[in-house]
């Protein structure tokens, strides 16, 4: 919130609530960005693991389960990796959808708040 020229525009409870909502959405947006980044890394790692698995000659590979490495036939690991990839892909899509919805709501609130307060309010980052 900027401390501007001292223009006096009345701030109502409704305005305050809009500002609160905007703040919440902005926070959520950043959290989602972080989550999406992590998910993408996870997917890349899984993809790398799958590719390595195709290249290897070993029939039995070590698959990390919790703290230990399980000796597991290549086929089973392949299945597990595919299942994980699918699960993570779905989660990623879900996060992206949520992000888009939040951006739309933020754009909407920006129109309302800028419409009322003009340059007395600053909703941009940096």
């Amino acid at each position: 919130m900027q401390q501007g020229e001292g223009n006096e525009t009345e701030v109502t409870w409704e305005d305050q609530q809009n500002i609160n909502t905007f703040g919440r959405l902005n926070n959520k947006f950043h959290e989602l960005e972080d989550d999406i980044k992590l998910k993408k890394e996870m997917l890349e790692n899984l993809e790398d693991a799958s590719n390595e698995l195709i290249l290897t000659d070993e029939d039995v590979v070590r698959y990390q389960l919790g703290e230990v490495f399980c000796h597991m036939p290549k086929d089973e690991v392949e299945e597990r990796l595919e299942a994980l990839k699918e699960e993570n892909q779905k989660e990623l899509e879900h996060l992206e959808e949520e992000k888009d919805a939040i951006l739309a709501q933020m754009a909407n609130l920006k129109t309302i708040l800028y419409g009322k307060f003009k340059d007395s309010i600053n909703l941009e980052e940096d």
């Binding site: 020229e5 001292g6 389960l65 919790g66």
Partner: protein
């Protein structure tokens, strides 16, 4: 007009100021004193926010741990009735691994904390771990809601500070103009 709850888990809600002039005259505070009070309040909110963020971090770290345990227990269950052994490498010390054979098993031991380990049937262990995971999610959700409430109060206080400040600037300017006109 909607009103928000006056407090949540001992965190008082920030009062919303409808009109700065009325607020200052009713509280009988000088502008500077009012600003200091508001700043102090803001600091307290920020402190509470940091505590909640730490709690959230701890809980978020717990979730993957529980998931790891679940994955292992589920693997053990999937081997039940097949008579197969599981061969695995486990860590003896940092960077030092040994091989172990785990025969088909009906039970596992769960570390419950406080130096207690208890043997559970695999299915029971899975149920318990699922329950723990669910509880962790519920606590996490509660903390997220607390955080949202807290952030609203931070925003309200910040906006109030800006408004009191602006109002003060405005008043000074008016005074200066008035004195400029009278002396001219």
């Amino acid at each position: 007009m909607a009103t928000s709850p006056s407090e949540r888990r001992g965190i008082p809600a920030a009062p919303f100021v409808h009109d700065v002039q009325t607020y200052l005259s009713q509280s009988g505070l000088e502008t500077n004193v009012a600003l200091t009070t508001l700043q102090e309040r803001l600091q307290q909110y920020k402190l509470a926010e940091m505590k909640l963020l730490a709690q959230r971090r701890d809980l978020q770290a717990k979730v993957p741990d529980i998931k790891k345990c679940l994955a292992i227990v589920q693997s053990l269950i999937s081997k039940q009735g097949t008579g197969e052994e599981i061969t695995l490498d486990f860590e003896l010390a940092e960077g030092l691994y040994a091989q172990a054979l785990i025969p088909e098993t009906q039970s596992v031991c769960l570390w419950l904390g406080a130096n207690v380990m208890l043997e559970y049937g695999c299915d029971e262990a899975e149920a318990l771990l699922r329950k723990n995971l669910e509880n962790a999610h519920i606590s996490l959700q509660a903390i997220l809601e607390d955080l949202q409430f807290l952030r609203d109060q931070v925003t309200i206080t910040e906006v109030t500070i800006a408004r009191v400040f602006n109002w003060d600037v405005h008043q000074r300017r008016k005074k200066r103009q008035a004195s400029g006109e009278s002396s001219a």
